[in-house]
């Protein structure tokens, strides 16, 4: 769950809605690192992530008068980011990504799932290796599945917040999360075997 919005943040939002760009600058400073992290972890390219993050804040400024405060401001920014990244990834200008289904067709056969790993002597080394594998596995997920995994496991959003950020129902979030986790486990199981 995201942290509750402080009165200071609330006043920045209200001032921004009245056209105070300096107050909006405070919001940019507060949230830029989280938005940039989320986008970078999805597009895996610093230049693209830099441009997309900028665009997110510009769009947020353009439509800030429509922000009604039903969700937190950060969740609202995640929603703009999610829409932009999905459009960006699907754009024909960008090189075609290898989707999970393609990977499964060519590389992976078994539908085994990974279970609790046996403890190794050097756990740090194991974690870094696993981290690389997980990063690779996340990249193979569809943008929608990537988004729910990153919003849940990295950004610590609740199910409801993820539903708001992705513009879907609670049930869809649960379903996407389940299948994304399953695909991750399947990939990691294959990678380890």
């Amino acid at each position: 769950m995201t942290e509750p919005q402080s009165p200071e943040v609330q006043s920045w939002i209200e001032r921004s809605q009245r056209g105070d760009s300096q107050a909006f600058g405070q919001l940019v400073e507060l949230y830029q690192s989280r938005i940039y992290a989320m986008i970078l972890q999805m597009v895996r390219n610093e230049a693209d992530a830099w441009d997309l993050s900028q665009e997110v804040f510009v769009r947020a400024w353009k439509s800030i008068s429509r922000f009604e405060g039903r969700s937190s401001f950060l969740t609202w920014l995640f929603r703009i980011s999610h829409n932009m990244v999905c459009d960006f990834v699907r754009s024909p200008k960008n090189s075609p990504r290898m989707m999970w289904e393609d990977y499964m067709e060519h590389e992976v056969a078994p539908e085994a799932t990974i279970s609790s790993q046996p403890s190794l002597p050097d756990e740090a080394l194991q974690n870094s290796e696993l981290g690389r594998e997980i990063a690779q596995a996340i990249r193979l997920l569809s943008p929608e599945h990537q988004a729910v995994i990153l919003l849940k496991e990295v950004q610590d959003l609740s199910y409801k917040e993820i539903a708001e950020a992705t513009g879907t129902s609670l049930g869809t979030v649960m379903s996407r999360l389940f299948y994304a986790r399953k695909q991750l486990q399947s990939y990691l199981s294959h990678a380890r075997n």
């Binding site: 921004s16 809605q17 009245r18 056209g19 105070d20 760009s21 909006f24 600058g25 940019v28 400073e29 830029q32 690192s33 989280r34 940039y36 992290a37 970078l40 972890q41 610093e46 992530a49 830099w50 993050s53 900028q54 804040f57 510009v58 400024w61 353009k62 800030i64 008068s65 429509r66 009604e68 799932t113 990974i114 279970s115 609790s116 974690n127 696993l130 981290g131 690389r132 997980i134 990063a135 996340i138 995994i149 990153l150 496991e153 990295v154 950004q155 610590d156 609740s158 199910y159 409801k160 609670l170 049930g171 649960m174 379903s175 389940f178 986790r181 399953k182 991750l184 486990q185 990691l188």
Partner: protein
């Protein structure tokens, strides 16, 4: 679907976090609708604990963009020239339609009234036209009293043998006294 019936009371056992009643109820609905999820949710969730902790340790929650000052300045320069939010203009909100909601009544009132008026006019016009049409049709279908005016016909019958034996008298015989000419 054995897991559905035995969802633990304490949701943190399963998900690593407390779920509120609404979320838990929604999860039960989703599991009831998807047999694959119902059969594997518990296992996948439990097996994901290792992945979850690794994701948390390898994917940072915050990453500062390169050249953060330039990043911010560029945004500020773009927003200063691109757009001024509507609320910044000194309008009385009562004088201007609300923009907070797409479905705002104020925003759609006039177009809807005009559209409603046009529709009503069209319906009434059509009805009036139909009424008149039916009136005319009724008049056309009324039984017409046919009056046949027959011109008087005169037939002169002559017999072939009469033609031959016609003798034009020098003097028309005087009709008998009781003879009366037919009325014309």
């Amino acid at each position: 679907m054995p897991e559905i019936k035995s969802l633990p009371k304490k949701s943190s056992d399963l998900f690593g976090e407390e779920l509120d009643a609404e979320t838990l109820a929604e999860l039960e609905k989703v599991l009831a609708a998807d047999s694959e999820m119902a059969e594997n949710w518990l296992k996948i969730s439990q097996d994901s604990n290792k992945i979850r902790s690794t994701i948390k340790s390898t994917c940072p929650k915050t990453i500062e963009p390169p050249a953060p000052e330039i990043f911010r300045q560029k945004i500020m320069s773009r927003i200063s020239v691109e757009y001024v939010p509507l609320k910044s203009l000194d309008w009385d909100e009562d004088d201007f339609p609300s923009t907070t909601s797409v479905m705002s009544w104020d925003k759609w009132k006039m177009p809807l009234l005009v559209l409603g008026g046009l529709t009503m006019g069209l319906v009434l016009g059509s009805w009036w036209q139909a009424y008149h049409d039916s009136d005319l049709r009724r008049m056309r279908q009324m039984p017409v009293q046919k009056v046949r005016v027959e011109a008087p016909t005169y037939t002169i019958e002559t017999k072939q043998e009469d033609r031959k034996s016609v003798v034009i008298p020098q003097k028309l015989p005087t009709p008998p006294a009781h003879y009366h000419y037919p009325e014309r």
